[in-house]
């Protein structure tokens, strides 16, 4: 297996998602201390995704995301809750300006993708060379169409995030909720978008790699 798969790539990507998780955790703490506005739920999701994805990406951290047992069930429950939460928020934000609703859609996508990957891992198909492999093989993933669709949506989200970062409208107005006051400017909105971007690209990679 080691000869067939780029283990170093999994380690590298695991380092990226862990760094993202640590950064997002620090954003939550810093914002509370300094009374700055953040999207706590989005940062929290990135913390959870970072930990879970690291366990899927590298064998060194496989214990973080086992494919069966209580911990696996807990992860499924957590991401199911996240999916419901962001789905609820997306419904509530219908009709608002796209810049406010689109971030929620991206988080909903991330939550759903994590649920899908956990389900596929439990059913035997998983990323070759990852900690969740073992019975992997082409076509072993359940509902591969959904996996491909989620991967395409994740790449699309990454592209839209990059475009939004560099659109000429103020980043603060794009990423801040409509009712955030001037006195509580959103903490490092570009860095937050960078986290979204990294998570989207790595999620797309993981979804695609499930079919290899």
């Amino acid at each position: 297996m080691a000869q067939l798969t780029p283990l170093w790539l999994g380690d590298l990507l695991a380092a990226v998602v862990i760094a993202t998780a640590v950064y997002c955790a620090s954003r939550i703490v810093y914002a509370k201390v300094r009374h700055r506005a953040t999207h706590d739920d989005a940062d929290g999701l990135h913390v959870l995704m970072g930990v879970a994805m690291a366990g899927m990406l590298t064998t060194h951290l496989a214990d973080l995301t086992p494919v069966r047992g209580t911990v696996h069930a807990a992860w499924v429950a957590v991401f199911a809750a996240c999916t419901v939460w962001f789905g609820y928020r997306a419904v509530r934000q219908r009709g608002q300006a796209p810049e406010h609703g689109s971030g929620t859609i991206v988080h909903l996508l991330g939550s759903a993708a994590m649920l899908y990957m956990l389900a596929v891992a439990a059913s035997g198909g998983a990323m070759a060379g990852s900690s969740m492999s073992g019975t992997s093989g082409a076509g072993s993933a359940r509902l591969p169409e959904l996996g491909i669709l989620l991967a395409v949506l994740a790449t699309g989200a990454a592209v839209l995030i990059l475009d939004r970062i560099t659109s000429t409208v103020s980043v603060a107005t794009v990423t801040a909720p409509a009712t955030v006051s001037v006195s509580r400017r959103v903490l490092a909105p570009r860095a937050a978008e960078g986290c979204h971007l990294a998570m989207c690209v790595i999620t797309a990679y993981m979804l695609i790699a499930m079919f290899a």
């Binding site: 076509g139 839209l160 990059l162 107005t173 909720p177 009712t179 955030v180 006051s181 797309a204 790699a209």
Partner: protein, 337 residues
């Protein structure tokens, strides 16, 4: 988090707008053109992700993807391909890492407005190099080109799209988006050459030989998800023994699409372009099997999505709704059309 509503000062945004415009070379692309660029960026990004599939880091990439495209090409084309194949075969991890990173970077850089031009420019030589060394010119010279299965090679369409979607002045009048960067005459000529070549490839090779199409579909159908295999096998049965008739129908369709952009009647143009979209959708599912995305060795989504993107680039612009906005207006760079 919910306090008083107040607008965020736009001083910083205004200065950023100025620097963005200078970085983008004077044109800040918005609306439909930017959407097309973003779709292209997304496809490049997807290509990069596909290139990171574990199987691509093995010798299988050189042997199963590159090597089959060498056969039948003239030696002047095939010799450099063999040389590149040898390098990839000897260094699969290093070369594939480079390929994947380049494609990933192209996708991200096209989406990132300050580097859109740079990335589009860089994508052209890269696409041509991959078209030659990786796709054997899409089978154009070895008789294997078939518009249904991916002629003239997906990657050369990326180069064409980079040219046609180059950031351009959107305040100028144009019949369709592709005409803005290169002019209507050149854009129409490129379209004519592309779809006209499909007519040629349909009849020039062995694509109208008995059983050719059904055989190709059957080959692609193996190892796909059950429902897709079922659809493709059904299509293979339907086409079996009807190759010549199908080739004639496709020839007429391609010819109509090719000349449609020259027609003065917008409704008829749209009808032909709609037919092109339907053609793209059908072959992407039935013949190209979504670019083989479920097989673990796909390097791109094949030609159908790129042809569809081209169709949208040539879709007639409604004069009444054309985005003619002042480039100095904040609204013109902040939003859509």
């Amino acid at each position: 988090m919910t306090e008083t509503t107040a607008p965020v000062p736009l001083t910083a945004a205004a200065s950023r707008r100025v620097s963005l415009r200078s970085l983008a070379g004077g044109h800040v692309t918005t609306g439909r053109r930017r959407t097309l660029q973003l779709v292209l960026a997304g496809i490049w990004l997807l290509d990069g992700v596909l290139q990171f599939q574990p199987a691509m880091f093995t010798k299988n990439f050189a042997q199963m993807v590159i090597y089959p495209t060498i056969a039948g090409n003239p030696s002047v084309i095939a010799s450099p391909m063999s040389w590149a194949h040898g390098i990839i075969l000897d260094h699969p991890v290093g070369t594939n890492t480079a390929f994947a990173c380049i494609q990933l970077a192209l996708g991200l850089a096209i989406a990132y407005r300050p580097t859109t031009k740079l990335a589009l420019a860089a994508s052209i030589p890269w696409s041509i190099a991959v078209w030659w060394f990786g796709e054997g010119l899409g089978g154009v010279l070895n008789g294997g080109a078939d518009p249904l299965t991916g002629a003239p090679g997906a990657v050369i369409l990326y180069a064409l799209l980079a040219v046609l979607l180059w950031p351009a002045d959107e305040t100028a009048s144009a019949p369709f988006e592709a005409a803005r960067a290169v002019g209507a005459h050149t854009a129409r000529a490129l379209w004519l050459v592309l779809w006209g070549s499909f007519v040629y490839f349909t009849f020039a090779s062995n694509n109208d030989a008995p059983g050719a199409l059904s055989g190709q579909i059957t080959d692609m159908a193996s190892d796909e998800p059950n429902w897709l295999t079922s659809v493709m096998n059904h299509a293979a049965n339907l086409t079996n023994g009807r190759d010549l008739a199908i080739s004639v129908v496709l020839g007429v369709l391609f010819a109509g699409i090719a000349i449609s952009v020259y027609l003065p009647w917008t409704r008829i143009q749209r009808a032909w372009l709609l037919a092109a979209l339907v053609f793209c959708a059908v072959i992407w599912v039935v013949v190209q099997a979504f670019g083989g995305a479920f097989m673990g060795m796909a390097t791109d989504p094949n030609t159908a999505p790129l042809l569809a993107l081209l169709v949208f680039a040539y879709w007639p612009i409604r004069t009444a709704s054309r985005a003619v906005v002042s480039s100095d207006s904040p609204d013109s760079v902040d939003g859509g059309e």
